[in-house]
Symmetry: C2
Subunit: 146 residues, 2 copies
């Protein structure tokens, strides 16, 4: 298991834009993943966080799980679709968190082992510093043999 | 009507991350909007365009229409929700394009004039340089009096 600092650095290297946004992975443990992005450089000139940054901080969590409870030999995560609902403007840093329970992890890994690929769905909630839910996402991912 | 170069510069100034991604507005005429982003700096280290960049090049089109066929006194565009389907990996620059027909424009502007806000839906297609559709989005936006 890599440290969160190492995981954050790896993700910035794999996807340079994540570095530009200042994404930080703050939890990657079993079925739970969480990431944070700061207000600057992600706010627009009205002081609200840009929709694409809210998308990114939530979308990345599917990938983070492949370093945690969905880690499997040779597996890479792909994103197939995402629906994002923007509920409130965010003017602070935001935290995105999502979880799969043990049965979902076990079932996904079993399907991957058998077929070399396995879809999984992840629902994430994005909250601002006051704890207000500013966005929700539902992502469909696939764990796939590289 | 501002030029496409001016519109691109305005959007980079309003949303600095759009500048980091190298987004270029290439069409803003009546009900049609189109934008392009280059491969670098939007590809990951596997050479495929990052999901968040595909999201952004399509999501921006709702805002672009507020400078074209949905231009209205005092109106700003908000995005309420987006669903994006990732169909194929993109390894080149991509173009996103979306259109509303004249009836949709007229209806949206009439609702805005009456209520000071009007929802509108925009379906965008994102294609790579070979013309392959790599992603599709369905966005729900609101034109709102600032």
């Amino acid at each position: 298991m890599t440290s969160l600092q190492q995981l954050t650095a790896d993700i910035h290297r794999l996807i340079p834009l994540m570095g530009s946004m200042g994404i930080e992975i703050v939890e990657a443990d079993g079925g739970t993943a969480a990431a944070r992005i700061p207000a600057a450089p992600n706010v627009n000139h009205f002081g609200s966080m840009y929709a694409g940054s809210l998308f990114t901080v939530a979308e990345v969590l599917g990938g983070v799980l492949s370093y945690a409870g969905l880690a499997a030999e040779g597996a890479v995560p792909l994103v197939k679709s995402v629906t994002i609902d923007f509920l409130r403007p965010a003017t602070t840093s935001v935290l995105a968190r999502a979880s799969l329970d043990d049965d979902e992890l076990k079932d996904t890994l079993a399907r991957y082992a058998e077929h070399g690929k396995a879809d999984f769905e992840l629902v994430a909630e994005v909250t601002d510093e006051a704890g207000t839910v500013v966005a929700r996402t539902r992502g469909l991912y696939q764990l796939r043999r590289f």
